[in-house]
Each structure stands twice: as C-alpha cells, then as structure tokens.
C-alpha cells in the first residue's frame, strides 16, 4: 500500500462520516475513496484561484493513479501485439499511455465539474479476483452509467483494468485504434505517436494554466 493511497483513504475519512467504509478492501470502497477525494479537490477553494490548475491536476493525479493497474490496461489494449514489444518498449508504452489518459480525463473533469452526483449502484463479483463496480454520474437530468472492472493484484489490492462508459469499454476502444496502427507500424512508432500527442497536450494544458 503506497503513501498516496493512504492519503486518499485519509482524505476520504476526514470528508465523510460513514464509518468503516474505507477500511474494508471491497472493490466499491476502493473506487469510492479516491472518487470522493477527487471531488473534494475539485471543490477545494484554494484551487479556485487562477493559475492553480496545474497544481490541482497534479493533486488529482496523485489520488487517482493508484486506483488503476496501468500494466494490465496496457497489456489489454495492445492485446495480441503485446508480445511484439520488448521489455523497455512495454515500460515506455505503459508510462506514456498512463500519462496520456490521465491528462485527457483529468482535464475534462477539471473543466466541466458542476456538482455531478455519483451514485453507487452495486458491485458484482465474477470470482475472488474479478469484480465490477457499477456507478452512475448524474449531471442535470442526464445520467451516465460508468462501470469499473477490477482485478485483485498480487498485494491483495483491487485495481481498475477497464472502464465502461455507456457500454463502451475504454480498453476495447483503444484496442481497435492501436491494432490498426500496429498492423502497419512497429511498437516504437506507436509509442512515438503517443509521445507526440502527450507533448502537444502538455503544451496546451500549460498554456491554459
């Protein structure tokens, strides 16, 4: 258990009065703690000041990062081409893809968070090691189903390996895109394209403060 995770859990404790929810290592609690912490950061008045967007993004990233199993996510998106990657390519891909996803979605919630409600609908277990947490994001009158598919890692910690938004799996969506690139290009070229996207993204984010 990392320090970041403990901070997330601690923040969750301080923000809610529901006892014991964070202690239990149930999949739903593993989602709820960081999600609540992110909402707290989004509502934190210290980040309402101009020029604090980057600091806020870093803070959110620290809370959210441990939720996800990026090795698993990378392996699943690249799927049958994963064996074409050598060890350093695997590491490079995982790193750039994680940052790319983080940037994209954190920027989205930073830009558009308006007190959406998160409704926790329940959790399904396929086995001791696979679970799915079902939630809904309610914005104005629109509710968007978001499901987190989780796997229990070696340390006995539940981690997300796929997110399903309105029935669309993030992993499968990237899988088709990567497959069409990897059917023509080498792994190094895909990594480079992701790096270019990331640089472009970082530049834009820096300009927006």
């Amino acid at each position: 258990m990392s320090l970041k995770h403990m901070i997330g859990a601690l923040a969750f404790f301080m923000l809610t009065t529901i006892p014991a929810a964070a202690i239990s290592m149930e999949p739903m609690a593993t989602i709820k703690a960081p999600v609540d912490a992110v909402i707290a950061i989004l509502n934190d008045p210290q980040y309402k000041v101009a020029g604090t967007k980057t600091a806020q993004r870093d803070e959110i990233w620290k809370v959210v990062y441990p939720m996800f199993d990026f090795d698993e996510i990378s392996k699943r998106t690249v799927a049958r081409y994963w064996s074409d990657f050598n060890d350093s390519e695997k590491a490079a891909f995982t790193d750039v893809f994680a940052q790319f996803l983080g940037n994209t979605y954190i920027d989205k919630i930073q830009g558009e968070y308006h007190n959406e409600q998160i409704v926790y609908l329940g959790q399904d277990f396929y086995s001791d090691t696979y679970a799915e947490v079902k939630t809904q994001i309610v914005r104005e009158t629109l509710s968007t189903p978001v499901n987190y598919r989780m796997i229990k890692g070696g340390e006995g910690r539940w981690m997300v390996y796929d997110i399903i938004v309105e029935g669309v799996s993030l992993v499968k969506n990237y899988r088709t895109q990567f497959a069409s690139i990897l059917s023509k290009d080498k792994p190094a070229q895909l990594i480079q394209r992701l790096n270019e996207k990331l640089t472009e993204q970082n530049k834009r984010l820096a300009e927006n403060g």
Binding site: T141, L142, K172, N173, I181, K184
Partner: protein, 278 residues
C-alpha cells in the same frame, strides 16, 4: 398533395434497405478480415480474458465477439462524412447549442427535453412490445400516461426518480438486433451521424412510428402540425436542445483518440451492442 411522392419514396428506400440487409449478412463477416483495425482477427485466445464480456443473460452468447466485428466497406466515404459532420459540429451545432445554453435557463431546457422524450414514448413502447419486454412496456406506458396528464403534456417528468417507470430506452434497431438481425455494415450519414445498415432501417421504422410522421403516413392532415417545416424545426430544436446538455463530450473523446474515426466507430458499435444486451 405533396404527401404521395414522399410516401412512395420511403417505401422504396425501406424495400431496398431490407433487401440489402439480407444480402449484407454474409459479406459482413467475410470482408471484415480485410480491415486490420478490427477485432476481427482477434480470436478468443488472443483477446485478454475479461469475465464480464459474455454475461449469461446475453441472448447472443458467444456470438458477442463476432457481433463487434462490423464491416466497413465504405470506409473512405464514411471517413469523409465523419469529417463533414465534425466540421458541422464545430462550425454550426456547437456555437448554436452553446449560445442556446446561455440564453435558455436549465429548467426550460430540461422541459424541452422531457417534452420530446414523452412525445416519442409510443416508439419506445412499441419496441418494448416487439421484444416481449412486458415490464418495460408497462413502465413506458405508465410514464407516458402520468407525464402527459400530470406532467402537462410531458413538459415535466414527474416520475424521474422511480426506476420502475424508467426502463431502458428501446428503438427499432435494437428490436432487430434482439431478433438477431446482423448490423450489416457501418455507415456515417451526413447530419445524422454514425449508424449501421440495420440501425438505419431501425431509424426509418422509428421515424414512421413517431406520432407526427405517423399522422402523415396515414394521411391525417393536422394542418401546420403535420407540415414538413414543423417537422424540420422540431427536429432541429430537439438536436440543439439535446446537444446543449452534452457540449464537451464529443471533444473529449476526439482528443483522447489517435484515430478519431476508428474511435467513434468502435464506440458506436459497443454502445449499440450493450443496449441490445440490456
């Protein structure tokens, strides 16, 4: 009146599409292998195990993987249409919907949304019946009755928080999918966006079932109400109003992708598949 030619045109379109739907069944899976970006070549052993992918209640069962493979024989044309719709969104729809969101207060926008939603209840109701989803049909029917009366012709959705009155939304494309009609192939329509051959036929069916077009089809002349202008205006208002709730979503998915066309194509297929499985 001008009603006749439009009707016969519709009939021709439906017949042609129905015909090609049967024909499209075979080449759909065969030609999919030619498109490298697809999950096509991904046989069961090369796709990472995900236990939640083949839920037992899914009627299509192990066909699931194959159903995700939708041929795209007109990829070139589709990509061009995708670019056209993309420009249309950024140059017209987004500015209009953003301005509309500023000018029109949220409660009004919600009422407009609820009004159209209620108006289209019969379409969803009939499609529940077509799929034998009696509980959902009952929910649709009750909500329609309550909202049309107590909800002032649908301007208010008074049962929004009651899950039993809010079943999953059904349409004719889903009905066809439920009865194992194949997607055929992928199409991007100008203005209307992504679809498949099956869902296009479905949309035509839903169009025929919407109360206003239905009146037109059975030659009820309700004056202004059934005029083409009214229809176009109503459709435009609905699209702008719906978009005003979703500004930013399209941009995010687009920015998050390396190949936007491929990303939206796959998202469309996955989304439809999940709705049919519901």
């Amino acid at each position: 009146m001008a009603m006749k030619p439009r009707r016969s045109f519709l009939v021709v379109v439906v017949v042609v599409l129905m015909g090609s739907l049967a024909w499209a069944d075979l080449p759909a899976t065969a030609s999919a292998d030619a498109s490298p970006g697809d999950d096509a070549a991904a046989t069961a052993d090369s796709v990472p195990f995900d236990p939640f992918d083949n839920p037992s209640e899914n009627r299509s069962g192990e066909k699931d993987l194959m159903m995700q493979v939708v041929a795209d024989p007109f990829a070139g044309l589709n990509r061009a249409m995708f670019v056209f719709n993309d420009k249309l969104y950024f140059w017209v729809l987004k500015p209009v919907a953003s301005g509309y969101r500023v000018v029109v207060p949220t409660p009004v926008r919600v009422s407009v949304k609820d009004f159209f939603f209620n108006l289209l209840s019969p379409v969803r109701f009939v499609n529940c019946i077509f799929q034998g989803k009696w509980k959902s049909a009952e929910g649709e029917f009750c909500r329609f009755m309550v909202n049309t009366t107590a909800g002032c012709l649908g301007l208010y959705n008074v049962v929004r928080d009651k899950p039993q009155f809010n079943p999953p939304e059904e349409d004719f494309g889903q009905t066809l999918g439920y009865w194992n009609v194949d997607n055929g192939f992928f199409i991007v329509w100008p203005l209307f966006g992504p679809s498949t051959l099956r869902d296009t036929v479905g949309s035509l069916g839903d169009w025929a079932l919407n109360p206003v077009s239905f009146m037109q089809l059975v030659n009820v002349d309700a004056g202004q109400l059934t005029s083409t202008t009214t229809n176009v205006v109503a459709y435009s208002v609905r699209v702008v109003n719906d978009t005003s709730f979703r500004i930013g979503d399209y941009e995010t998915l687009k920015n998050a992708s390396l190949d936007p066309y491929e990303a939206f194509r796959n998202a469309y297929i996955q989304n439809r598949l999940s709705k049919i499985a519901q």
